[in-house]
Structure formats: C-alpha cells, structure tokens
C-alpha cells in the first residue's frame, strides 16, 4: 500500500504495484473458485477417461471407453435430445410469458403493485415444494386437474399425466415455467420502466395499434434484455434437476431423463463415476455454447 501513497511518481513501478494490488484483491475469489469449482471440474473431466466406480478402490485408465459407450447407447443420445426439448420449450415459454406479464404489469393500473408482488411467489417458493405441488395437481388418482376435468365432463376416466411420456415432459416444462416466469418478468419490467411513455403516446397518435407498439417500440427496446434473459434461462434450464427429479425421477421410461438426471443416476444409482463424468463433460460442452454467447454479449455491452 505504501507504493500507492499520494505523491509517488506515476511510472512503470506504480502501474506494476497497482496491477499486483489488483491481483491480490482477486486472490480470495480465485482460491474459492479453484477449490470449489476448478479442481472438482478438472478432476471430474479426468475421471471421464477412467473406469471408476464408487465401490472400487482405484480408478483404472480406459481412454475414450466411456465416451464410446455413451455414443453407442441410443438411450443416452435420446436423453440429449430430451434435454434440448426441455430447454427449448421451457425457455421459450418462460420468456414469452415473462415478457407478456411484464407488459401487463407495466400498464400502471390499480393493484398492479400488489399483483407484481404476488407474481413473485412462485419464484420465492423452494423448487422441491413447487415440484411436489405440481405432482399433486397432476396425480392420477387424487389430482385436482383430473377431478376438475372429470367434473366438467371433459374426461370419462382419470389420466395418469405423469405416467405418460409426452404429458410428463409437458408437466415438467410447465412446472419449471411457472417457477421461473416471475424472475424473467422482473427483468423485462425493469427494462420496460425505462421506456419513454411519450414515445408510446406519439406512436398511438400516429395510429399505431397495440401490436404495432409491441413490435416496433417495445421489442426493440427490450432487445438486449431479451438476449440476456434467453441465454440465462437456457443455461439455467440446462442445469435443471430438482424440479424434474422430484416430479418424475426422470421417468416414465426415461421420458424426462435429461442430462442432469442421467449424471445423477449414473453416479449415485449405478455408482459409475467414470461414465457419469463423461456425461458431465458432454453436458458441460452443451452448456458452454449458450454460456459463450452470453459472455460475448456481456463483454460487448
């Protein structure tokens, strides 16, 4: 710190000291990153090349064996596809509903603030509770959805929603969407509140309908927020495990078994750490693409 005292000449020595000090400030964060993230990640990446089970005393190097087995396993390739379906559907639905809801709440009608606070409830709730609530709503025997549809005469016998592949996937998409829409809405609402009301009024005076206002004023205004939210949501949904595991456990018949569930089951049900690590590496590469786009966007801004 003495090197930074007022009155010191601003030369190369000063800049060097400043850089060293700056580096020192990052050391605690770097240590935490190295211990908690980098080391486990590198160790996991290393294990992907080993035959390693939780029962075995020592891992055995097997080169690309785990990856070859994964690419030869049609179930694994399907789980990759399911991951893309889950991420695509959940992200699109969350962003669309979040934006729509933000536009509604931005109208400033009476009660909008109360409604905005209430909208955050799903986001505040623990995700496991959300999952169990949805599982209960959709239960084949006791579920409220079946009860309502049977009462209205839409169904003549109950449907086991979570025991049918397509419905189970739709259910986990809806549950995750319900959980995340509030957060996405707050991003868009913050962006919309910087939109000039004069601009909108001028457009309306020129005869613009609601759809024109949204298309030519609102969407261009929230464009950057939209991109960031899309990427963040895609990354979050790629990492999603708790809602899916609590609702369906990856079933029925692996219909909702996305990559996160595959890693968990392979590591902690089949005890195959090497193969789970290989799935983890492929999963990381899948996440790295949207993450790269996000970081580029962030740095450009």
């Amino acid at each position: 710190m003495a090197a930074l005292a007022i009155g010191q000449p601003r030369g190369a020595a000063y800049l060097g000291a400043q850089q060293r000090f700056g580096f020192l400030l990052t050391v605690p964060a770097l240590v935490a990153y190295g211990v908690l993230i980098l080391y486990p990640f590198l160790n996991s990446a290393r294990l992907a090349f080993y035959r390693s089970t939780l029962m075995a005393p020592e891992p055995v190097f097997r080169g690309l064996e785990n990856f070859e087995q994964l690419f030869g396993d049609p179930d694994f390739l399907l789980s990759w596809l399911r991951t893309l379906v889950f991420v695509g559907a959940t992200t699109a639905l969350t962003v669309a509903l979040g934006l729509g809801w933000a536009i509604v709440l931005n109208q400033g009608f009476r009660g909008a603030r109360v409604l905005r606070s209430l909208s955050l409830l799903p986001w505040v709730m623990p995700s496991a509770v959300t999952a169990l609530l949805w599982a209960w709503l959709l239960h084949g025997q006791y579920g409220i959805l079946n009860a309502a549809l049977l009462t209205l005469g839409v169904l003549d016998q109950p449907i086991a929603w979570l025991a049918t592949g397509a419905w189970a996937m739709a259910a986990v998409v809806l549950a995750k969407t319900w959980l995340s829409t509030a957060l996405v809405m707050t991003f868009f609402l913050a962006s919309l509140q910087t939109l000039s009301s004069e601009q909108v009024e001028a457009a309306r005076l020129d005869g613009a309908a609601d759809r024109h206002v949204i298309r030519y004023i609102v969407l261009p205004h929230v464009r950057n927020t939209l991109l960031v939210v899309l990427v963040l949501q895609a990354m979050g949904n790629l990492q999603q495990i708790d809602v899916i595991y609590a609702m369906t456990g990856g079933g029925p018949v692996r219909a909702t078994s996305v990559l996160s569930i595959e890693v968990y089951k392979t590591a902690f049900q089949n005890w195959n750490l090497g193969r789970a690590s290989a799935i983890g590496v492929l999963w990381f590469l899948t996440i790295a693409i949207p993450a790269g786009i996000y970081l580029r966007t962030l740095f450009r801004e």
């Binding site: 086991a160 025991a163 456990g249 018949v253 049900q269 005890w271």
Partner: protein
C-alpha cells in the same frame, strides 16, 4: 481406517493404550458420540415408536451423545456409500439385505461375532435368521426384521366385491381383479407399482417367478430371454391395458390408497400393517389387512414371495469403535437385540421380531404366521449377491416399466433387458 489406526504402534502409542486400558478398568466407559443412520424412523408407521426407543437409549446412556440421522429409503444406499467414501462416522446403520454385498466388498463392516460375541448372538437368534446376515464366514449384520414381500389383500374391499376365497392361481387372481373393477371402477384392483424403478423391479420379480421365469443364475448367466419371462411381462402389460393396474403409483402411494380402501391387492413386506394403522386409525384397521400367498401359475405350484429383511450393521469408519462395551455396540444391542424393544415394535407397528424370545412370545399371532409361511418358500432377489446389483435392478425395472407403460413391446423389452444385463455383468467382471 481401523487398520490404519492399529498400525500406529510407536512407544507413545503403546503408552497411550496402556493408560487408556488402566482408565477403562478404573472408571466407567468414556463418553462417546454415537451415530445411528436409518430410514424407518423417517417413515410414518415407525417414527413415533423408534423415536421413543432412541430417547430411551439416550436416557440410559446420558454420557454418550446419540445422533440419529434419517434418509428416505430411496436415498439411503447412496448416502451410506457417500459417507463411506468420505469416512464420515456411522456407528450403527439400518441396511436392506441387497445392500450388504457392496459394503462387504468395501470391507466397511465390523464382524459382529467379534464385537457382540458369537455366543451372545447364537443365544438370541435362531440360526436360520442369523445366517441371513453372514457373508464370507463373517456375521456382518443382525436381522432387525425379516419376512417376505408377498400379496396383501384388503378384506373390506374383497368382501364388498364378493370375493369369498383368496385367489390361489393367477387365473383366479385375474378373475378377482375383474370382479373388483366391475364392483367399483374407482377402486384399483391391483396396486402394482408403475412408478419407481426399484419397486417395479421387486414386484415384477415376484410375477416373473410365478410364471417360472428367472433373470440371472448364481454364476451371472442371463436367463431372462425366455418364453416364461415373455408370458410374465405380457400378463402385466395386459393387466395395465385392461385397467386392472393403475398407472402412476408406487408402493408408497398404494399404501395410502389401500388404507383408504381404494386398493384390493398389492405386494408388500410385513411393515404394511404399521402403515395401515398410521393411515387408517390405529389397530382397529388391522382386520382389513390380509396376508396371502403369491398366486401361482398352476394349482399346486409353490408360491414364491421375495425374501425381505432389514439388518442392523456396525460400520468401521470415521472414529466408530468396535469395542464390545462401546457406545456403538450398546446402541445396536438396545435397538436391535433387546426383547422388550422388539415387543414394543411388534405391538405398536407390526414389525416382525427376530429374537428367539420375542418370537416365542408373539409368534403364534396369525399375522406373523402368515408372513413366516410366505418367507419359508420365498427366494432372495437374484441380483442381491452381485456387486453391481443396483445397476442390474435398474435395468430390469426400466425395461419392465417401458413395456407396462407402452414404450416398448414385450419382446423388445425382454431382449433389451437380456442384452443390457449381459453387458453389465460382463463389465463388472
């Protein structure tokens, strides 16, 4: 870990041991932390009783600090393995019979003949029951409760549906299921699990055996690609198609529905009565629980349930000691080997006792008699003694689930099951 500690035999260590020995003689046993890990104390049927038992142990051992850790049954095995890997303390733990071989392979368990004493164990247990916890000549576990997973019927539902005689053959069983459905379409005739891979595997094993099918032999040869296995799976698939098995329930759901008289038949071990009591208003609900033999393919065939046992073991890690007068051994004795405790568990939860004296006291009870009769002809799960049994069970469960929920044809599911089992068994060699 225990071996590593024993290797520390320098002069100071010897002196420490001598001083420790003198202290043991001169003073009562030193206070210890003691950790119990199980799942039963988290379940509605057994929770109040086991909490009383743990409180009783703490009251009689005020110097020892008892920590009780509970995990749901479905997460118990992985938590035990992870604690083993991290050398976290586990003095006494509750294990299912199929989890014993992997922990024995990891050399994680004390030989209870050494800790408790072979003479003490022989005095308290019937040799056949004691044998259940023996592997490679070591007594690695003592049975906490044992019996069989067999057919359970709801007397109230069956009477109302006009089923006078319990079905003995699969043909009679199917007819009974149809009768239940015709009587009340809201009642599930057969509460077979279609959710939860491990439960599907267990329950389908019983049905496969009824058809004379096998999955794997003792040498690891895959036998499931057979006409009997196809018949068994087709039977289950047809029951789903006919609406006699409901989609989307596991055994835990079914127990609740059964207690509310909405299920006619399902497979369950002896803990069923505790769950029904807890859900349906105490011992008055006992009368509705009928323990039945598994229906057979032909009249006169031997009914085959699945042998089922919960064990208590002592882990040798994280500071857990194997001393006979240590807190771990005391806890194991208090929870699992005390006649009064087993009587309370039986009276309050219906848990079948395993000690000679308790069995002599209550063994005439028809409920115990029915389960013991089922256990006589029951078999161990074929995957139990393979170190990668968890993977094998997952394969069987997934393929049966796929066929039952319409994701695969019966033939495809059986062929895929055989191929995957073969690959997994070869990879583990």
């Amino acid at each position: 870990m225990g071996n590593q500690r024993n290797r520390r035999t320098g002069p100071m260590a010897v002196l420490r041991h001598l001083l420790f020995g003198v202290a043991l003689v001169a003073a009562p046993a030193l206070a210890e932390d003691v950790v119990f890990i199980g799942w039963s104390q988290t379940e509605v049927g057994l929770k109040p009783t086991l909490e009383k038992i743990f409180a009783g142990f703490q009251a009689t051992h005020p110097r020892d600090k008892l920590e009780v850790i509970g995990f749901p049954f479905g997460q118990m095995e992985q938590n035990l393995v992870l604690r083993r890997r991290n050398d976290q303390r586990m003095d006494v733990a509750q294990l299912q019979e199929r989890w014993l071989p992997p922990f024995v392979a990891m050399n994680a368990l004390y030989d209870l003949n050494q800790v408790i004493g072979a003479d003490v164990l022989a005095a308290r247990y019937d040799p056949d029951l004691l044998k259940l916890g023996q592997i490679n000549g070591k007594q690695v576990a003592v049975p906490f409760t044992a019996g069989a997973i067999t057919m359970v019927g709801n007397r109230k539902v069956l009477d109302a549906a006009g089923i006078k005689q319990p079905p003995r053959t699969l043909e009679e069983f199917t007819a009974a299921l149809r009768k239940v459905k015709a009587w009340n379409k809201d009642v599930i005739p057969f509460g077979f699990s279609t959710k939860g891979i491990s439960l599907i595997q267990v329950e389908s094993t019983i049905v496969f055996w009824a058809f004379g099918a096998r999955f794997i032999d003792e040498q690891g040869k895959v036998l499931v690609d057979s006409p009997q296995a196809r018949d068994a799976l087709k039977y289950l698939v047809d029951l789903v198609k006919e609406g006699l098995i409901a989609k989307g329930n596991d055994r835990f759901d079914t127990r609740k529905i059964f207690a509310n008289d909405q299920v006619a038949f399902f497979f369950d071990p002896p803990v069923v009565r505790g769950f029904v009591r807890a859900q349906a208003g105490g011992p008055a609900a006992d009368a509705k629980v009928m323990i039945l033999p598994v229906p057979t393919l032909k009249a006169g065939d031997t009914p085959r349930g699945l042998l089922w046992a919960h064990f208590l073991v002592m882990f040798n890690q994280g500071g857990a000691t194997g001393a006979r007068d240590g807190a771990g051994a005391q806890l194991l004795t208090a929870v699992g080997m005390d006649a009064a405790t087993q009587s309370v568990l039986w009276r309050e939860t219906g848990q079948i006792p395993t000690l000679k004296t308790t069995l002599a006291e209550v063994g005439k009870d028809p409920y115990i008699q029915d389960f013991l009769a089922a256990a006589k002809t029951a078999r161990w799960d074929e995957t139990t003694f393979f170190a990668n049994g968890a993977e094998l069970r997952q394969i069987i469960g997934e393929e049966v689930e796929a066929a039952m929920l319409g994701g695969k044809s019966v033939d495809d599911a059986i062929r895929t099951m055989a191929r995957r089992l073969d690959t997994a068994l070869k990879a583990a060699r």
